[in-house]
Symmetry: none
DNA sequence: AATGAATGAGGTTTCATTCAT
DNA sequence: GATGAATGAAACCTCATTCAT
């Protein structure tokens, strides 16, 4: 977890990413200034510019380093036959992948306006569409298409919104996963 | 036409709210400057400050004027017995209420980080919790609780995300409503 | 005392002066805005402009209305022979005159930088010089000239600075007057 | 004298303080804008903010750097027995210390309203009280207490007000010092 | 006698970014 | 691998003032 790795020497680049994500997720991208990041790291702003060309690049680099697990889920699903079992397993794997990138997901959820203007926004949106397509049955009725999207949103809600309410995170995540699988199953059988 | 206040002639206050919401929803709250709003209205920044004390107050006033329909749904639901029919009707009414406030919903969805720091954030969050509680069966298993939350998120997704994809907005909304009602019904029968 | 006259009806002009002086003395001239004055009076800023052409004019009008007693002291002293007794009596009368205009004196003391740029600044300065000249013995040694100035500053200190420290205001004023008379007497006998 | 040091090259922080004090003393604190300071230094406003966090901090830093001599006078006086000779010597040293900080003294004299709202106001006031206490004879009659305060005000008048009138500044200062010592001596013998 | 609406100028402050060292 | 110094643009906001009504 980003905030628990102090690592004084050497890998400043990594430390910048960690602190930046902490702050971006906590306060939002625009409200987080490079001064703030630098201060928390006890370096100067100029040091950030040694490692990254722009503020946006810090964010981009975080995405590049942390979204691989999700891309792997997609690649895996693509290589399988489009059966119900594949889709169910895909949701399971996706839910797992989200655990590691929880903070990044929270960031995405809460900074959609920002994401839209930023270059990665497109990438993320495309990834989401790809997943929906992998879940969908061709020419399914509209309600079933909604169910597929809803399944994904349920996983997200389970990670982000529900965490702030219910008790045990892991239990909540399992429940969300169950509901999501249920939705996709209904969509498949229709 | 966002609200109910008299309007008559030269009602700048109203025009400010309208333009501001347009821009806030389009670009995000922080990325929208008062200069931009003023320019689009062909007034000076100072004119905005005649009508609103701060930038935040513009946003707050928009919420105050536009969230009444949703509050009315909640009040209505509170006055009914907590039957399945009530819950279904509540979702229907909520979905309807969202149509009028579509832009505001998009704003909330995409600016969650901003909302959290702003005073209205709490209000909105509380409203969401209230709705969840009205949908919930006391002591329902966790999965059913997730279903209730998921029903609401589905309506939101139907309004916001899905609109950008599918064909006819109204058809999509109806499909989302159907799925949401389905979810709540499952939760109820469990 | 300005702050104790509410006087709801009619003489708004007077009420503006009272509130303005209260605020000018309390916070300084530049830090007091017309908005503040208007708010405290529960009128609009525009109303102030019905009674006074500019912010500065409010201040000028206060001086015009409140400095007559001091001018009378000067006029009186001018009409007398320049004896020690005259000078002593002049200090006594001046000290008395200061009581009524205490707030205005505090304002002058604390806003000298402002006064210098404002038109009345010159007037006030000239009045001070006039008083010094009336106290001075022609061709007195420099130290005695200092004593005369010092006598006046002692009265001021007795009104403004010392008031914030010692007990009974009236007693303090009398003590300051005594010291001032003492100084002028020494200057005279030298 | 702050305005007469060209300061070679590089030391911007110092130059900012110098120019700022010049302008603050000349026009008053509020009427002096950061734009003005920056322009006179031929740097941008942002450069000022690299060296100082706020406008107030510029002023505070000037005080911190320039009031040490006065604090040393106080410390010295504290370490001596409270004899008349000590008090006389204290006034002499204080008068000397004022020469170096003449501009700062003028600023304080003319911007008391401003000082009161600013954090250093308290510090300055406290310093003044301390000096009065060091000059005072315990349980002296009120008039003698006034004499002590008057002695200090006389020094100030000698530095600020009288300078604008009389001929040679140094001669004036000596005369003021003489009168002040006289006052304190009277207060002591009473 | 006073208001409602607006303006133009200017205020302090913050930001992402650059570059010589 | 990083700093110190600085910039240009722009942000939010406040002010004294005006004028039609």
């Amino acid at each position: 977890m980003s905030s628990s790795t102090p690592q004084r020497r050497g890998n400043t680049r990594q430390r910048i990413q960690d602190v930046a994500l902490d702050l971006f997720a906590e306060q939002g991208y625009e409200k987080t200034s490079l001064r703030e990041i630098a201060e928390r790291l006890e370096v100067t702003k100029a040091a950030l510019y040694y490692h990254f060309k722009t503020k946006e690049e810090i964010l981009v680099s975080i995405f590049e380093d942390q979204t691989r697990p999700i891309d792997e889920v997609i690649e895996w699903a693509r290589a399988q036959p489009a059966t119900l079992e594949t889709k169910q397993e895909m949701l399971r794997r996706y839910s797992n992948a989200m655990v590691a990138g929880a903070q990044l997901y929270r960031f995405m959820q809460e900074n959609q306006a920002t994401m839209r203007e930023l270059s990665i926004g497109e990438t993320v949106r495309r990834r989401l569409f790809t997943m929906v397509e992998l879940l969908l049955k061709r020419d399914a009725p509209l309600t079933d298409q909604v169910r597929c999207v809803s399944a994904l949103f349920t996983l997200h809600a389970g990670m982000i919104f529900l965490q702030q309410v219910e008790g045990d995170p892991e239990e909540t995540r399992q429940a969300a996963l169950e509901v999501a699988i249920d939705l996709i199953t209904q969509a498949h059988h229709a």
